[in-house]
């Protein structure tokens, strides 16, 4: 819904139950189906996580800390920003707030999935499932025709989690071996991925495109305008995001989200 991907057509489910709440949940079957759906996501994560490991370690973070960040955070944008702030020795408050604001979008995704999981799912299972919500797992899960079970979600997040950790480890360890020119080139990978996530959605919605451009304009302002440029990168992202979203909510309110 947020980031429609090309795999959409593959997401058509064999389940034919019209009433999703009647879907019979079998842990093994659901887990297997989730695992399968997670493979393409995991493949996409490896180069991005690789870049993260590379970026973190070349910035002075030790390899095991880089891996620990990937294992505990499992998020692209938030941990890139967090790691960059750790490298620049930003305050703990700034690191925490920046990561939080970048991750606020998960509120919406989690909210959307909360309407879609089998209602009887236990508290603790909901807690475990929600750890694996990312832009990509959310997109795949929310496009499923049937209700989401614990087994399915666990399967879906397994390979991406593994791929994220594997990519980070490789990037962190290979860092020093790669030639500098290649290391520099890989710095663009995360941003290229951001662009690949936004552009297909933004080109279908004028409102989304407008909000994206407003955010870009604001963050440019905080980067170049006199006085304003003293604001750190972390705060500039926070202020630009919140301002652009308020403008979006005021001028392009959504009928159904």
């Amino acid at each position: 819904m947020l980031f429609p991907k090309k795999e959409t057509s593959e997401v058509e489910r064999p389940y034919s139950k019209r009433n999703p709440s009647k879907h019979q949940s079998d842990f093994g079957t659901d887990f297997g189906s989730g695992l399968q759906k997670g493979i393409p996501i995991a493949l996409g994560y490896i180069p991005v996580a690789f870049t993260f490991g590379l970026m973190a370690v070349s910035g002075g973070i030790s390899p095991w800390i880089a891996i620990l960040i990937s294992l505990t955070n499992l998020t692209s944008a938030g941990q890139f920003a967090g790691a960059r702030l750790i490298i620049t020795e930003a305050s703990l408050f700034e690191i925490t707030l920046t990561t939080f604001v970048i991750n606020i979008r998960y509120l919406l995704m989690s909210l959307s999935l909360s309407q879609k999981i089998i209602p009887e799912t236990a508290f603790i299972k909901r807690g475990i499932m929600s750890f694996g919500i990312t832009d990509e797992t959310f997109t795949v899960a929310s496009l499923e025709k049937h209700d989401i079970s614990f087994g399915y979600m666990l399967g879906l997040i397994s390979f991406p989690y593994g791929g994220w950790a594997l990519g980070t480890t490789l990037g962190a360890l290979i860092c020093s071996v790669l030639p500098k020119a290649l290391q520099n080139s890989m710095g663009i990978a995360l941003y290229a991925m951001f662009i690949a996530l936004i552009v297909p959605s933004a080109k279908k919605s004028r409102a989304a495109l407008t909000i994206t451009l407003i955010a870009v304009a604001l963050s440019s302002l905080f980067n170049w305008a006199p006085y304003l440029k003293q604001i750190s990168a972390g705060w500039s992202i926070i202020i630009a995001t919140i301002t652009a979203c308020i403008i979006g909510a005021l001028f392009f309110p959504r009928e159904e989200v």
Binding site: K6, I65, L68, I69, T72, N73, A77, Q79, A81, G82, L92, I95, T96, T99, F100, I104, R105, Y106, L107, L108, S110, L111, I117, F123, I133, A181, S185, G187, I188, A189, Y191, A192, F194, I195, A196, L197, I198, P200, S201, K203, I211, T212, I214, V216, S219, S220, N223, A233, I237, A240, T241, A244, C245, G248, A249, L250, F252, P253, R254, V257
Partner: protein, 101 residues
């Protein structure tokens, strides 16, 4: 210094998990505030936009190679290439540009 980094990592993990877990565990109904729903809807676009630009310009150590890499990423994603293709395509172009300089 190391302790400070570990505290930062723990804090990052907590504030990443909180928005993921709270609605899933506690929300049973739809949010009624249209403003809030619209605000949340635009967060990914605004956040990714603000994070990408101008940050992307400083991602390669050379603004002109970054601009060319960004253009390639924009074109590839306009034609809806996958994440992997766009990322690898941008890396290769940036590498070639830097190699030629």
């Amino acid at each position: 210094m190391l302790n400070r980094i570990i505290i930062a990592v723990i804090l990052m993990a907590i504030v990443t998990y909180i928005p993921r877990v709270l609605p899933m565990v506690f929300v049973k109904k739809r949010l009624s505030s249209r403003f809030l729903r619209s605000f949340l809807y635009y967060v990914p676009y605004a956040a990714l936009g603000a994070m990408t630009f101008p940050g992307i310009l400083y991602s390669t150590g050379n603004i002109s190679s970054a601009l060319i890499g960004m253009s390639v990423a924009l074109v590839l994603s306009y034609y809806e290439k996958g994440l992997l293709e766009v990322a690898v395509g941008a890396i290769i172009i940036v590498y070639l540009v830097q190699f030629m300089n």
